[in-house]
Subunit: 665 residues, 2 copies
C-alpha cells in the first residue's frame, strides 16, 4: 500500500506503511459527490433552524408539532424539499438531488425530517407517481409549497406489512359516479399515519376497490379529511398520542364511514374505473399491477436508509470527538490518564462501525443514483427496476439497523454524559428507533430481497405471501436457482480471480486483497441462496405444508438476503475506493474498506469455517488484521468523522465535542 | 428426557418427546423463590401506583419529579424499601429481601426504581456501610421513612470510572476540628448525582482526604447541601437537565467552595482522623482500604443487574403475548394469516432471549443470596467477598446488556405499535439505557472481573489502573495464572466428565448433556484467561510499555471476563434445573436451559472451531438443535412469560397483550 501514498511524504523502504494525511475538504467532496450544492443548502438551513433541537425538549407536544410544521414550510420555500418534483409545478426536477437533500436533513431534528418525508415523499410522491395530469394540476403546486398538507393512509392497525390484505374498502357507486370509502372493521382503521392527527387536509387512502360486485385489489384515492381544522363528514380522526420519539410529527388514526369522493379521486395512472363502472388497467396480472404501483413508491425506502446512515454519522462524530480528548485511568503513563481512543477495545467498538458507515454511504450513493436514473427515465428496464427495488429494500434494512446499533454503541462509549439530552443521543436513539420498522419492516424487506433473488425478480409473483412463494420456488424455478447458485461453478470462476486458484482461498490470497474479500462474500451469498432453494424443494418434495417449510427455512432465507446485500455494500465501497486517484486519500479509504471487509467476514467467520472457506488459522489471522487496521486508523479518526460534514450546531454536546472541561489536565 | 415427564401424561415410546404442561403458579413460585412474599407486596404496590406510568408521559418534569418522590415516600411506609436496614432503626433486617423488593420494582416506572435506589441503596447504604453508630443514630431512622432525603456524590464530570482520581478535596483543619470540602477544578464538580437537583438535604461526598499536609486517598463525608429548599452556604447546585429517560429523578451537579463540616462528618468505619489531626485506619494498604470501602457498596450493582433482568421480562411478556395473537401474511393456510410466533425467525429472535432471561434470573438469585450471606455475616471470608464482588460486577454487565438487547428486539418484534408510548417500550428503552453505564460502566466492570481472575482476587492490587495491573500480572503472578489455566490439565479433567474422554468433545457427548455444555464454557474461559496472561507476559518480556500491551490485549481481557461470567450463568441455570423434582416443570426448564446453553455456544461457535472444540459438522448440528428447541418451546411460550408474574397493570399495551382488536379474524 505504501506505493500508493502521496508524493509529498518522505520516501520509505518498499512495503513499509506510511501514515496518510487526510485532506478533510477533499474527503468531504468525495462523500458529498455530485450533490454537494444541495447538501450545503440543507446544512445551512439546518444551522439556521438549530434551535429546534432544543424546542424538541422544551416545548409542549402541540407547540413542537406546530414549530416543526412551520420549519418544514419555511424550508420548502428555499427549494430544498421540492427537488424531486417537476419544474413545471415549481419543483427542482432532480430526483437524485431530492434524496441527497433528504439524507442531509437527517443530521438535524428528525421530526422535521419525517414531516418532510410524509408531506413531500409519501403524500407528494403518491400524487406524482400514482396520479395523472389532473391530479398533478390539482395538487402538486400547492403541496410543494406546503400550502396543502396531506398524508399517506396506507397502514392499518391490523395490516402494516401485508398491504394486500388491507380492510378499507372503496366501492364504486355508478349511480352517483362516486367511490364510497369505508372502514369495514375495527382493525382496518388507518393507523400511525403521519400528518393525520393535526395538519393534513387530504389523505391518499389505500383501499380495496370494489366495482360491480367484483374486487380489484388495493388502489389509492385522494380523500379530503379535514376542513378548517375539523374532520370532514364521515371521517373520524384520533391522535396516536405520545410516541417513543418523533413527537413533532402528528401521527393519527382514521376511520371512514361511507365517505363519498368523486370518481376522479382515484389515482389512475395504472388503473381506472370508467363512469359506467368498468374497471380498466393496462397491466393484466393483479399481482403485477399492485407491485408496479408500490414499486413507484420505493423512493421512501431509499430516503429512510440514507437518513439512518446520516443519523449514525452524527453519533459517530460525537463519540469519536469525545474519545479524542476524554482521558480515564493511567495506562501508558503513571502521570497522565489515557485517551479513550487509545484503548484497543474502544477502537474495536468504534472503528468497524465507522468503516461500515463509509461503506453504507457509498452504497446509498449507488442506490440513489440508480433510482434517479430509473425514475427519470434515463434507464428503462423492468429487470433493473426490480433489482433496484430489491437493493433499496436491502439497503434500507442494513442502513437502519446500522443506525440503531451505532447510536447505541456511541451512547455507551460516551458514558453517563451520553445520557443527557443536550448530548444528542437521547433524540437520536428515540427518533431513529422506528426506522427499522417504517417504510417496510426490515425482516419483511429482507424476505422481499430473497424472493427477488430466488425468482430472478419475476414480477408474476410479486406479493409477500410466503405460502405462494414457497410453492413457486420449490416448483417452477428451483432448477434455475440451483443453476445460478451452483457452488461448483462458482469455485471454477474463482480460480480465475484468486492467485493460486482454488488453493488461493486459504494460502496465497492476501487478506487485504479486495478480490479475495469480495469472493468470500459472493461465495457466502450464492451458497446460502442455493441452500435455501434446496431446502424449500426438499420440504415440498416431502409433502410438507409450504408454510411450515417456510417457517423452518425463514432464518436461512433472511440470512441469504443479508449476505446478498452485504456483498453489494462491499462492492460499492471497493469500486469507490478503486476509482480514487492515487494518493493519501485513497490509502485512507483503502484502510477503511479493508476494515469493513474483514470485520464483516470476522463477524460471520463461523459460517466461513463451517463451509470450508476459512481455516482456523486464517480466521484468527483475520481477527489480528482487524485489530491492526484499527491501530492504523487511530490517528485518522478525527479527520474521518470531520469529513462527514455534520454542521457543528447539530452536534450540541458542548462538553463532549470540545476539549477543555471534560477529562481536563 | 421423556423419562422425566410427569405421570399424568400418556405413556409414550421410550425416548419420544412429550410436550410438558406448565403449571404457571408453580413455575412462578420457583422464580420468586424464598422472597415470594416481599415480591408480592411490591407487585401490589406497583398496581396501586400504576397511574405513574401515565404521569411519566403527561406531567411536566417538575410535577413528575414530585410525584415520584411522593410515591417513594409512600412505598417506604409499606416497609418495602427499608428491608435492608437494621430492625432497630425501623428497617426489615433482611438484605436478600431488600434486593428482591428492588428487582421487582423494575416491573414498573423506573424513575421510582432509581429514586429508591438513590435514597435507600446509595445514600442509605453509604451511611449504613461506611458510617458508625453515631451516623446510624443520626440518619438511619429518618432516611428509611424518606423524611430525610439524601444523595450519593461520588461521580465527577472528569471521573466516573476512575474513582481514585477524583478531584474534590476534604482538608482537615485542626484548629476548628472541621473538614473543608472544596471542588478544586471545574471537572471535579460532582455530576449526574440523583436527588441532588431538587430533593436531597444531605450528600455523602467522596473526596480526597488531606490531613497534615499528606494525602490519604478517597473517603466519604456527610455534607448538608440544602436547607428549606435552598442550597447551603458554599454549595452550588445545578440541574443536569433533561435526560434520555428517568426524568422523574432529579440529577444534578454540585460544587463545594470551602464548605466546612465537623470532624464527625467523616464516615469513619474504616478510617478516621483524630481531633488532633492524625489519620488512623486498621487497614494499612491504601489500595486495600479504598477497595474495602467500595466493596461494601456492591449492593447497588447487584440491584441494577436484577432490575435490568426484570425490565427485560416486561418487554418479553408484551412481545410474546403480541406474537401469540398477531397474524400477518398467509403462510400455512391460504385462508388465514399466520401467527407471528409460528414463524421460525420470530422464534429465533425471541426464544433465546427468553431462555437467557431465565438463566440470568437464576444467576441473580445466586448473587443476591451470596450478598445476603456475606453482608449479614452468615459467611465471613475475604476470598468469598472478593469473588462476590467479581460476580456482582459480571452479572451486572451481562444483565444490563441483556436488558438493552432484549427490549430493543421486543420493540422491533412489535412493529410500529411498539413505538407508541402506551405500549411501554418507549419508557423501557429510554429508562434502562443508562443501566449499562451507572453503578460501573460494563466494560470497566468486566476488566475488574478479569483482574480478579488474573490476580486470584488479590486485594493488594485493587484499583483499576491498567498500568499497574499489567506489570502485576506479567510479573508476579503469571506463573500462577498459567498454572490455574493450564489447558492440558483441563483436558485431563474433562476425560472424567465426558463420555468417551477427549474424543467425547465431538463424538459421544450429547449436545443436550449439560456436562458437555458446561465443559465447553469452562474450556473457553480457561483458555482465554491463559491466553491473556501469556500475551501480557510476552509484551512485558519484549519491553513494551505496559499500557500499550494492555491496549492491545484489552478486547481479549474483556472476552475472558465475559466467558467467565457466561460459565457462571450457565452453572446457575443448570444447578437450578437439576434441583427441581421430576415432572413437567423440570422438562420445561431443561428445554430452556438447553436452549440457553446451545445458543450461547452457537453465538461463539467461531471461537470453539478456532480452538479445536467443535468440528464444522457439530457446529451446524448445534444450530439445528437451537431451531429444534425453539419449536419445542413454541407451545410453552405464553406460560413461560406468565410465570414472570409481571402485574398486568405494568404491561399497559392494550392493543398488544389482549387478543381482539389487533390482527383480528
Amino acid at each position: 500500500m505504501a506505493t500508493e501514498t502521496a508524493p509529498p511524504q518522505t520516501p520509505t523502504p518498499e512495503g513499509a506503511y506510511v501514515q496518510p494525511r487526510i485532506d478533510v475538504a477533499a474527503l468531504q467532496a468525495v462523500l458529498d459527490g455530485k450533490y454537494a450544492e444541495i447538501r450545503n443548502l440543507v446544512r445551512s438551513n439546518l444551522a439556521d433552524y438549530a434551535s429546534v433541537l432544543e424546542d424538541a425538549e422544551t416545548m409542549s407536544v402541540d407547540d413542537y408539532r406546530e414549530r416543526v410544521k412551520e420549519i418544514v414550510v419555511e424550508m420548502a420555500a428555499t427549494g430544498q424539499t421540492g427537488m424531486g418534483f417537476p419544474e413545471s409545478y415549481g419543483g427542482g426536477g432532480d430526483i437524485g438531488a431530492s434524496i441527497a437533500a433528504f439524507e442531509t436533513l437527517a443530521f438535524g431534528d428528525l421530526s422535521v425530517l419525517v414531516k418532510v418525508g410524509v408531506q413531500f415523499g409519501l403524500f407528494g410522491g403518491a400524487i406524482l407517481q400514482l396520479g395523472t395530469k389532473e391530479h398533478h394540476d390539482a395538487y402538486l403546486s400547492k403541496l410543494i409549497t406546503g400550502e396543502l398538507m396531506g398524508c399517506f393512509a396506507m397502514t392499518e392497525t391490523g395490516h402494516g406489512s401485508n398491504v394486500q390484505a388491507l380492510g378499507t374498502v372503496a366501492t364504486y357507486d355508478v349511480a352517483t359516479q362516486e367511490f364510497v370509502i369505508t372502514t369495514t372493521r375495527e382493525d382496518a382503521r388507518k393507523d400511525y399515519i403521519g400528518n393525520a392527527a393535526k395538519h393534513a387536509e387530504v389523505a391518499v387512502v389505500f383501499a380495496q376497490l370494489h366495482v360491480a360486485g367484483g374486487s380489484e385489489g388495493v388502489h389509492a384515492f385522494v380523500v379530503p379529511i379535514r376542513e378548517g381544522g375539523k374532520p370532514c363528514a364521515g371521517v373520524r380522526i384520533e391522535d396516536d398520542g405520545l410516541k417513543m420519539g418523533l413527537n413533532g410529527v402528528d401521527n393519527g388514526r382514521l376511520w371512514f364511514d361511507e365517505v363519498r369522493v368523486p370518481r376522479t379521486s382515484m389515482l389512475n395512472r395504472f388503473a381506472d374505473v370508467t363512469p359506467a363502472g368498468v374497471y380498466e388497467s393496462a397491466i393484466e396480472n393483479p399481482n403485477k399491477r399492485f407491485f408496479t404501483m408500490l414499486g413507484t413508491l420505493i423512493q421512501g425506502r431509499v430516503c429512510v436508509g440514507g437518513a439512518g446512515i446520516n443519523a449514525a454519522k452524527v453519533a459517530m462524530t460525537i463519540a469519536t470527538k469525545y474519545a479524542l480528548h476524554r482521558r480515564q485511568f493511567e495506562a501508558t503513563s503513571e502521570d497522565e490518564e489515557e485517551l479513550l481512543l487509545d484503548y484497543g477495545m474502544h477502537q474495536r467498538r468504534l472503528f468497524p462501525l465507522l468503516a461500515r458507515t463509509y461503506a453504507l454511504h457509498f452504497t446509498q450513493e449507488r442506490v440513489a443514483g440508480e433510482l434517479h436514473d430509473i425514475l427519470s427515465g434515463v434507464v428503462e428496464s423492468e429487470h433493473r427496476q426490480r433489482e433496484l427495488e430489491s437493493l433499496a429494500a436491502g439497503a434500507k434494512a442494513l442502513g437502519t439497523w446500522h443506525a440503531t446499533r451505532t447510536i447505541q454503541e456511541c451512547r455507551e462509549a460516551c458514558g453517563g454524559a451520553g445520557y443527557l439530552s443536550i448530548n444528542r443521543f437521547a433524540a437520536l436513539k428515540a427518533d431513529t428507533d422506528v426506522f427499522t420498522t417504517f417504510e417496510g419492516d426490515n425482516h419483511v424487506l429482507l424476505q422481499l430481497v430473497a424472493k427477488g433473488l430466488l425468482t430472478d425478480y419475476s414480477s408474476e409473483f410479486s406479493d409477500l405471501d410466503q405460502f405462494g412463494m414457497v410453492k413457486f420456488v420449490a416448483g417452477l424455478a428451483v432448477e434455475t436457482v440451483l443453476e445460478r447458485t451452483n457452488v461448483h461453478k462458482l469455485l471454477e470462476r474463482i480460480k480465475d480471480v484468486l492467485p493460486g486458484g482454488d488453493d488461493g482461498w486459504d494460502q496465497e490470497a492476501g487478506l487485504l486483497d479486495s478480490d479475495y474479500q469480495l469472493t468470500m462474500l459472493r461465495f457466502r451469498e450464492e451458497h446460502m441462496l442455493g441452500g435455501v432453494a434446496r431446502r424449500l424443494k426438499r420440504g415440498i418434495d416431502q409433502k410438507m405444508n409450504p408454510g411450515a417449510v417456510f417457517s423452518r427455512v425463514q432464518d436461512h432465507v433472511i440470512g441469504a438476503a443479508r449476505a446478498h446485500v452485504e456483498r453489494l455494500v462491499l462492492e460499492a465501497f471497493v469500486e469507490k475506493t478503486r476509482a480514487q486517484p492515487d494518493g493519501d486519500l485513497k490509502v485512507a479509504l483503502n484502510l477503511l474498506c479493508d476494515l469493513h471487509a474483514l470485520s464483516t467476514i470476522e463477524a460471520d467467520r463461523a459460517w466461513f469455517m463451517e463451509h470450508g472457506r476459512l481455516t482456523t488459522a486464517r480466521s484468527k489471522a483475520i481477527s489480528r488484521e482487524v485489530s491492526s487496521l484499527c491501530r492504523k486508523l487511530r490517528p485518522l479518526a478525527g479527520d474521518l468523522v470531520d469529513a462527514f460534514g455534520v454542521p457543528p450546531e447539530m452536534l450540541r454536546s458542548p462538553d463532549l465535542v470540545r476539549p477543555g472541561l471534560v477529562g481536563g489536565a
